[in-house]
Each structure stands twice: as C-alpha cells, then as structure tokens.
C-alpha cells in the first residue's frame, strides 16, 4: 500500500514539475532552460532533500519511462506525413544524414578515446547526436549507460544550438537545407526547434533529418564501435 502511494507521489511529482518547467520555458525560451534539464535538476534536489533513493523514485518513474517505446514508434507519423518532401530531396537528405551521423559518432568516439575516458562512458556518449529515446536504447544496446547517454544528448543539443549560428557564419553555410541537416543531425529535437527560427524549409529538413538519423544511427552505432575498436 505504501509502495503504491510512493509510486503515485513520484509520478505526480514528475508530471507536475515537467508542466511547470514547460510553462517557464515557454515564457523565457533560453536553450539552457529546456524542461528536461530544469525538471531533472529540481527532482534530483527534492529526492536528495527527502533522502529518497533513485530506486524508490523509479517505482513510480518506470511507468512514465514505459511510454518511451511507443513514442519512438510514434515518430513514424511525422515521417509518413513528410514522405513526399523526403522523396523530393532524397539524395540530399540521405547523403546529409549519413555524413552527419557518421561524423558525430566517429568524432566523439575518437576524442573520448584520446582523452582516456573509461569504456562504458564512451559507449554511452556514442549516440549523443540521436534523439533522446533512441539514444537511450542505442546506448543500452552498445553496453553503455542510459542516464549518461542522456547527459551526452542534452549537452550536444543545447551546445549545438548555442554554437550553430557562429559555425554557420564561419563556415559560410547559408543554404536552408544545409543548416537544417546540420541542426537535425547533431542537435536532434532541440536543434529542430532552433531550425524553426530560420525558415519553414530548414525546419522540415531538420525534423526529417532527426528522425532518419535515429533510424540510421541505430544501425551505424554498432559498426562505428566495431570499426574503431572503441
């Protein structure tokens, strides 16, 4: 009985915190106020203050996590809606997605290896440029840690959005399609919301790239790990 009550309280805590943080983010749209970040920080604080271990929190939390699977499947819907757009730009999108995914995974893997970071951690941050629900699954499949994978994903997303305008200027990337591919393939959902600020075409390109990167990334991840002996 007490367990059910605890589970219910934890679910309530998570949901309420999420909606409050979303409100705040809508009012002040800074990338570092992303609800995941602020809500996570707040919940960790509450758990630490009341001495609730993560294991007890997850009695409730696992119910929320269990919706991750269906949400990944739900990505098929926007992909289906934009199928004509994909077919029209097939060559550009596929090329961009492949190059973006490979360059992201290889570069982070090699850098982490050079820095001497431990093996499990490296495997966790390999899928950092994929959208979070997929990155969690890919990291688990590779033998990494899901929580660490999310940390990598969040850093890549938030920093990517902050750094992208400068990089675009320095590298003279002006085309809406190039920008969309860059944002979608490195900064996933956070990048896609930034892409909406540029133009409609950049936004569609970014969201399609994000979804395709998730699919292609889950194939390429194991290959990159195997090829570079990470």
């Amino acid at each position: 009985m007490q367990q059910i009550l605890l589970a219910f309280c934890m679910i309530l805590l998570t949901v309420v915190t999420y909606f409050v943080m979303t409100r705040i983010y809508k009012r002040y749209s800074y990338p570092y106020l992303t609800p995941v970040l602020t809500a996570t920080a707040f919940i960790i604080m509450i758990l630490l203050v009341f001495h609730i271990p993560y294991k007890s929190y997850m009695i409730g939390g696992q119910w929320i996590s269990s919706l991750l699977g269906p949400s990944v499947v739900a990505l098929a819907y926007p992909l289906y809606k934009q199928r004509h757009f994909i077919i029209n730009h097939l060559f550009t999108i596929l090329g961009g997605v492949l190059v973006g995914t490979i360059s992201g995974m290889v570069s982070v893997g090699l850098l982490a290896k050079i820095f001497g970071i431990n093996h499990t951690l490296i495997l966790s941050i390999i899928p950092k440029s994929l959208t979070t629900p997929v990155a969690i699954e890919v990291a688990r499949g590779l033998g990494g840690n899901a929580s660490m994978a999310i940390v990598g994903v969040m850093i890549a997303g938030i920093f990517g959005v902050i750094a992208a305008p400068t990089i675009f200027k320095l590298m003279r990337i002006h085309s809406p399609i190039g920008r969309g591919i860059a944002l979608g393939s490195t900064s996933h959902a956070i990048g896609t919301s930034k892409a909406a600020e540029y133009s409609e075409l950049t936004f569609s390109m970014s969201s399609v790239t994000m979804a395709l990167c998730a699919i292609i990334g889950s194939f390429i991840g194991p290959i990159v790990v195997w090829l570079f002996q990470i």
Binding site: V99, G141, F159, G160, A182
Partner: protein, 134 residues
Amino acid sequence: MKILIIFLQIFILYIFSFIGTVIHNFFHLVIPGSIIALILLFICLCLKIVPVKWIENGAGFLLSILMLFFIPTTVGIMNYPSLLSFQGALLVLAVLLSTIISIAIAGKVGQFFEKKAQKRKDDKECSKFSSHSA
C-alpha cells in the same frame, strides 16, 4: 471521447512497440526493438495496412509531451556523482568538440549536396527545353 481515442491509439503504438521488441529478442538484433517497430509502422502506413487515422491523435499526443518520458531516466544521473570529476569534464569536452565538428561537416556537406541536386535539376530542365526547341 477524445481522451478515449488517444488512449486506444497509444495502445496500438504499444502493440507495435511490443512486436518490435519480440522481433529484436527473437533474432538477437543490435537494432533497438522500438526502431524496428518504427520502421514497421512506417511501412504499414505507406502500404495503407494501418490507416493514418488510427494513430495520428495518439502519436501527436505522445510526441507533444515526449520530453516528459525521459525525465525519470535523466534523474538517474544522481547515481553518478563522478560526472563532477576530471573524467566528467573530459567527457563534456569530448561531446562539445564533437558537436562543433559534426555541425560544420554536416552543414557543409548538406549545402554541397543541395547545390549538386539543384544543378542536376537545372541540367534536366535545360535538356528538356533544348529538346523541345529542337
């Protein structure tokens, strides 16, 4: 009524996700079960086996609050205080550098491909035009 529809449609997505996991376990694939299910659903939508109407509300709803679902997993970093150590700092640095590299490469290559595709299209139109005039 709308809540019920959303609920039922999420259930359909659940079934797909379950089938994906079963396939994943049965063939011992490295690709996550949910990605297999995503591809499966996409194919079913394209072949009209599953009408879009069956999933659009549920999928739209799930995707609109997607961020909520990974908060419990993110909270798990509280078990890794080592993230605030030197190793943690190196890890962050690796991700930052890699992000800069891949934005530059993906953007440049995307732009290059776009120009190439544009040129091919122009050439095609040109040849069409010339064959017309001939």
